[in-house]
C-alpha cells in the first residue's frame, strides 16, 4: 500500500544562505538574465542548455568567473537532466520550444520540448530529492475567451496553441508532483517577455526583416493584436522577489506590466529606431498572426503587486528599450536605407 502523503504539513527549508540553482535554458534569453541575478545574489548556478537558440556568450563572464557551469544537454534527454540535478537546491525550468508557430507544422514539438521535458525535470527532482522549482508558464494557457486583464483564478483555461497546451500540461505535472511527492513550486504565467539577448519574438523578427529588406516590413495579421509586454529584467527580478515573499506548497503568479501595445505600434517603433523611415509596413490581414495566436492578451498583476513588486517599464517603453538594444545586437546598418 502506498502511504498517505500530506504535503501541506511539510516544513519547507528556507534557504537564507547561497544556494545551488539549476537553470534549464540557462544560456537563453530569459535564462541568462536570471543567471545574472542569481550570481549577483551569491548563488552558484548550473546552466543546462542545448544551445539550439541560447548562446554561451550570454553567460560567458560567469563561466569565466567559475560561478556558472554549463552542461550542454537537452531537457528531452532524461539522463542529461538527471546528471544535472545532483546537489541542486532549486530548479528554474525555463527551457522550451522558442518557436510557437513551429508547433503547427511539427505537432509533437511542444509535446516533447514542453510536456515531456517538464516530466523529466520533476521526475529527476523526485529521484534526487530536489524540492523547489520555479516554472516559466505563459499567459497563453488562458486561451482566447478570458476577461482582460486575466486574473490567476480564471477558468476554464482552454489554450488554443500547441505551445499553450504544453505549458498547461507542465503546470499540471508540477502541481501533481507537489500534491503527490511534496515538491514546492512557483508557477509564473508570463506576459510577452522582451529585452536584450532576444533570440525570437516579434521585435527580433521585425529587425531581421528590415535588415534583409529595409524597404518593407511584413506584419502577420492586421496589426491590431493588442498584448502586454514585460521587460526581461523586470521579469527575472519579479521571479526572485515573489519567491522570497511566498512560501505555499504551490504558488501561482501572473508576471506582466500594466498596459498593452498593438503590433502596429511595435512595427512603427521598430521602423523609427532602425531608421528605415521609408519602409512600407504591409499587413498580411486577419485578426491573428498565425493559427493559435491570441489577438488580445493582458494579465492581471494585482497578485504580483501585492507582494510589493512593480515593473520599471510599461509595454511601450519596454518595446522601445528592446528595439534599441536588439538593433545594436543584430547589427542593422542604418545607413543601408539612405
Amino acid at each position: 500500500m502506498v502511504p498517505s502523503i500530506l504535503p501541506k504539513t511539510h516544513t519547507w527549508v528556507i534557504l537564507d544562505s547561497a544556494m545551488r540553482a539549476l537553470v534549464t535554458g540557462g544560456a537563453g534569453f530569459i535564462g541568462s538574465h536570471l543567471i545574472d541575478r542569481l550570481v549577483a545574489r551569491g548563488d552558484t548556478v548550473v546552466a543546462l542548455d542545448n544551445l539550439s537558440s541560447g548562446k554561451l556568450e550570454f553567460i560567458q563572464s560567469h563561466l569565466d568567473a567559475g560561478t556558472v557551469t554549463h552542461i550542454q544537454g537537452d531537457v528531452t534527454d532524461f539522463n542529461a537532466v538527471l546528471g544535472a540535478m545532483k546537489g541542486i537546491d532549486c530548479v528554474f525550468h525555463l527551457a522550451a520550444n522558442p518557436d510557437i508557430r513551429l508547433g503547427t507544422r511539427i505537432t509533437d514539438t511542444d509535446l516533447k520540448q514542453g510536456t515531456l521535458a517538464t516530466y523529466n525535470i520533476v521526475e529527476a527532482m523526485r529521484r534526487c530529492e530536489v524540492k523547489k522549482i520555479a516554472f516559466a508558464s505563459s499567459s497563453v494557457v488562458y486561451g482566447e475567451d478570458a476577461p482582460l486583464p486575466t486574473p490567476e483564478n480564471h477558468g476554464p483555461c482552454m489554450p488554443i496553441s500547441l505551445y499553450g497546451a504544453s505549458k498547461q500540461a507542465g503546470e499540471g505535472l508540477i502541481s501533481s508532483w507537489v500534491g503527490t511527492f511534496g515538491l514546492q513550486a512557483w508557477i509564473f504565467r508570463f506576459a510577452n517577455i522582451i529585452g536584450t539577448r532576444g533570440t525570437h519574438g516579434v521585435i527580433f523578427d521585425f529587425i531581421h526583416k528590415l535588415k534583409a529588406d529595409p524597404s518593407r516590413l511584413e506584419v502577420l495579421g492586421n496589426g491590431l493584436q493588442e498584448k502586454s509586454y514585460m521587460e526581461v529584467e523586470d521579469c527575472v527580478n519579479g521571479i526572485l522577489h515573489v519567491m522570497q515573499q511566498t512560501d505555499e506548497p504551490l504558488n501561482l503568479f501572473n508576471l506582466g506590466s500594466h498596459d498593452t501595445a498593438s503590433v502596429r505600434r511595435i512595427a512603427e517603433i521598430v521602423v523609427e529606431e532602425t531608421g528605415c523611415h521609408d519602409a512600407a509596413i504591409e499587413y498580411t490581414g486577419g485578426d491573428r498572426g498565425w493559427a493559435g495566436d491570441i489577438p488580445r492578451a493582458m494579465l492581471g498583476i494585482d497578485k504580483m503587486m501585492s507582494t510589493g513588486y512593480d515593473v520599471r517599464f510599461n509595454s511601450e517603453a519596454a518595446i522601445r528599450h528592446t528595439a534599441k538594444a536588439l538593433i545594436q545586437e543584430i547589427g542593422i546598418n542604418k545607413e543601408m536605407n539612405i
Copy 2:
C-alpha cells in the same frame, strides 16, 4: 507562412444520420456502456481496446451482430490509432490508465496512457480529417482547493494526482487542436462513475477484499472522504444528450449527480449487500486514501441540467445498485460468511 485559421467561423456538420464512431477503451467499463447506447441509436462502432482491463464479453453481442468491430490495439501506439481512425465521423476517447494509484509508483504511467495517448488521438484525427471528439476528463483536474460543488469555470485547476495531470494535459491538447486545426470537441469532467461491468474502483475493490477475507474490510484512509458518484448509464446517456444539445467548437461539461456519499457509507453498503455482516471495517487512517487522493469532491451540474438532462440515481442509490450488480458479476458467495 501558416494561414490564419478561425475555428469560430467554421460550420459544423450536424450528423442527423447514423455515424461511424471510434470508442477508445470500447471494451472497458464506461466504453462498453457507451457502445450499447451508440448501437441502440443506429451507429456503427469501432472499439479500440488493448483488453488490459476491458473484456470482449462486455461487447460480445454487438460483435456477433456485426454492429461493432474490435481492434486490439493500444492508444499509445500511434500507428494503431491511425489505422483505427479511417472513415470515422466521431471519436469517443475514453481509454486511460484505470489504476490511479499506480501513477505514484511508475510515474510515467499516466503520461504515456493519458497525455501521449491523447496526442496520438488528436494527431491521427488531424491527419485523417476526423473533426469531432468527446473526451472523458475527470473532476480530479480541479485539485483539492476548489469550492464544492465545483463549476466548470473554476480556476486555477491544479491537479494533485498524476492521473489528474494527464487529464488536464489531454484537455489542453484537445482545446489546442480545436483552436489551431479546427477540431470540434466535447470535454466531460466526470464524477466517480460506477456501475455494472466495473473493472476497478472502490466498490470493486471492497467486494474483492471481502471475497478474499469475509471477516474484515480494510479501507484506505479514515473513511470520511466524501465524493459524488454517478451511475454509468446516467453517465453515457448524459454524454450523448449533451452532444445532441450543444454545438460550440469547444463544449465543456461536468457530469455528476446531486449529492455525495462517504467511503464509510460505501463500506457499510457493500458489507450489507455481500451479507458479510460480521466483517470488521478497518480504517488505515489519514484524511485521504493515497497520495494524490482528493478527500472531498462534488461537481456543479447546473450546466448539464441546463441542457435538459438529469440523472436517475443519486450517489447512494448508484452505490447500492452497483454493489448488487458487481456482487453478481464477481461472484461472491454469501454463504462463505456463515
